[in-house]
């Protein structure tokens, strides 16, 4: 039981949520100072050696620079071929198993009774004081109840209502882009579009939408959780700000509903109108956790697929020609982009009992990491996996959304956003050229771009 939980039990109605987190931060700093918590070392980037020079037990795919240095494919290929269920006992995140082949990943993902999602779904951990509760990191039956409460917001029925709005906002962003002049695609398109989408989904004040991106980046980019750049102090401060804004939004929505305002399709409204979650505000850890989950889920993923698609079509220019000749391939291409990019590299589980998997015995309590990025390049399951093929057969069968009860809830929304983006891009631009090399995020979880310079050429006007 941690400090926030104890406070929560004593009556959250009395102590505002931001103050609780501040108090937890004080405690965390004190414990770190006293040496109760070991300070987590910063990652310093060094050149990653060729994988063939290493003993198999020294292969460590938790290195947060593996993607940036373009070593990830060779590292995972070696594991898939030589040691598909691999134990690394000395990583910065402690010992962990890597599951690298498509079929084995499917097995782990499907068997939630053997492999628990609690307490975290990333390789590392968050500070104990910030052990927020999100349904992605819960097992059934609690998971099912909480997921069901919010699923409606991103269910296809709701999306049909939203398609027009998404298209309008996408057009607005694209119409303002410069022609024949280089600009940062990540900032001006990918982040801008995803922040607009998040603000729409939450009915969050539109002018503050970049805050959602910032909080989401904080929550997903901790050094101790994923090898990212953010330290825990920054995380605490961000969560205080986030809880303040979300509490305000919650009470504001409640007040508006009380005056008889027509209910919207946003997530907060859905939470407030479901019996299981209408008092979620009184359970601060769950409240914050689930909102954080929803913004993280809709942020890095779609953003980096928006960038990754442009990058892939530049690396495979024949595919761009193919696409221009037959825009009906967009739907299939969207699945291929999500496979090729695999915006989230992994999900973590903990074995609930001893399990034999592909010749290895995983012990009860061991950490098990499913590397979706590797499974999506598994030659055993996918033909020419390193190639980007927009009309690939069975492109939908990728691992990027996960499988089983934790399968990505927003997958249809993601596909819709990407489809609309590409429909609108093809309607406007003849060329979308990537200039130079993109810059990559430091993480073993998010496979993302921090910067990618693009130059657009308009379609010739028809006479």
């Amino acid at each position: 039981m941690n400090f926030v939980n104890q406070l929560a039990e004593k009556g959250t109605a009395i102590i505002p949520m931001p103050l609780q987190i501040k108090a937890a931060h004080v405690l965390y700093k004190a414990k770190t100072k006293l040496g109760i918590y070991k300070e987590f070392p910063e990652f310093v980037e060094a050149p990653i050696p060729d994988v063939s020079t290493l003993a198999i037990e020294d292969v460590d795919v938790s290195n947060p620079f593996l993607y940036r240095q373009d070593r990830w494919e060779s590292y995972f290929k070696r594991l898939r071929d030589e040691c598909p269920v691999h134990y690394q006992k000395n990583s910065a995140f402690g010992p962990f198993w890597s599951v690298t082949r498509y079929d084995d990943i499917l097995f782990v993902d499907k068997n939630h009774k053997l492999f628990s999602s609690e307490p975290f779904i990333v390789i590392g951990k968050a500070p104990d004081e910030l052990a927020v509760e999100m349904f992605i990191a819960m097992d059934p039956p609690k998971h099912d109840v909480q997921r069901a409460a919010v699923q409606g917001a991103v269910a296809p029925k709701n999306l049909k209502e939203m398609e027009g709005l998404i298209r309008e906002r996408t057009r607005d962003v694209l119409d303002k882009l410069p022609l024949n002049r280089p600009f940062n695609w990540v900032e001006d398109v990918s982040i801008e579009l995803t922040s607009r989408m998040l603000a729409t989904l939450l009915d969050f004040p539109y002018e503050n939408r970049r805050k959602l991106v910032y909080w989401s980046d904080l929550a997903g980019g901790g050094t101790e959780s994923t090898g990212g750049l953010n330290d825990s102090d920054e995380l605490f401060r961000g969560m205080v700000d986030m809880s303040r804004h979300f509490s305000r939004l919650w009470y504001d929505k409640k007040a508006r509903a009380a005056t008889g305002e027509r209910a919207g399709f946003d997530l907060i409204t859905l939470l407030q109108s479901n019996d299981e979650t209408r008092d979620l505000i009184n359970r601060p850890l769950e409240f914050l956790g689930n909102l954080a989950l929803l913004i993280v889920g809709g942020n890095d993923t779609t953003r980096n697929s928006m960038t990754g698609g442009v990058f892939a079509l530049n690396r495979f220019p024949d595919e761009f020609t193919k696409l221009k000749n037959d825009p009906s391939l967009i739907t299939n291409m969207v699945s291929e982009i999500i496979r090729w990019q695999t915006p989230l590299a992994h999900m973590r589980r903990v074995a609930t009992q001893d399990v034999e998997l592909n010749g290895q015995v995983i012990k009860k309590g061991d950490k098990v990491v499913m590397w979706y990025a590797s499974g999506n390049r598994d030659e055993r399951a996918i033909d020419q996996p390193e190639q980007f093929i927009i009309d690939r057969k069975n492109a939908r069968n990728h691992l990027s959304f996960g499988f089983g009860v934790h399968r990505c809830m927003g997958n249809r929304l993601a596909e819709l956003q990407l489809r609309i983006l590409w429909e609108e891009l093809l309607a406007r631009f003849d060329r979308i050229d990537v200039i130079g090399e993109p810059e990559y995020v430091q993480s073993n979880f998010v496979r993302g771009y921090s910067k990618m310079i693009v130059k657009l050429t308009a379609k010739p006007t028809e006479a």
Partner: protein, 106 residues
């Protein structure tokens, strides 16, 4: 050889020949029946080949197993005779079976 009929949400009917031993999902895909996504390729791990078996035909197909129910429980259009088409293996006894497709797969 008998046939199975898939009925889309908008009422469009697709009568397809039974291929004994194949799953209803595979048969639908082989015949280009729209409205089935089959994202996991037949592992009961995604819930996107959801069909609602018509009337008494549930006796011929049998009810959903535990693994299948987990996925079905998360689909928005869940009905008492919901099944995942990938978990129904076609037999000659299914001649005349009708399976309705939900409006959306999720």
């Amino acid at each position: 050889m008998g046939s199975i009929t898939f009925i889309e949400h908008d009422g469009a009917e697709h009568a397809v020949e039974i291929e004994t031993g194949k799953s209803l999902m595979q048969i639908a895909m082989n015949n280009g029946v729209p409205g089935i996504d089959a994202d996991c390729g037949g592992e009961a791990a995604c819930g996107t080949c959801h069909v609602i078996v018509d009337g008494d035909w549930i006796a011929a197909t049998g009810k959903a197993g535990d693994e299948e129910l987990q996925m079905l429980d998360m689909t928005p259009d869940r009905a008492p005779t919901s099944r995942l088409a990938c978990q129904i293996i076609a037999t000659d006894a299914m001649d005349g079976l009708v399976a309705r497709l939900p409006e959306f797969q999720m």
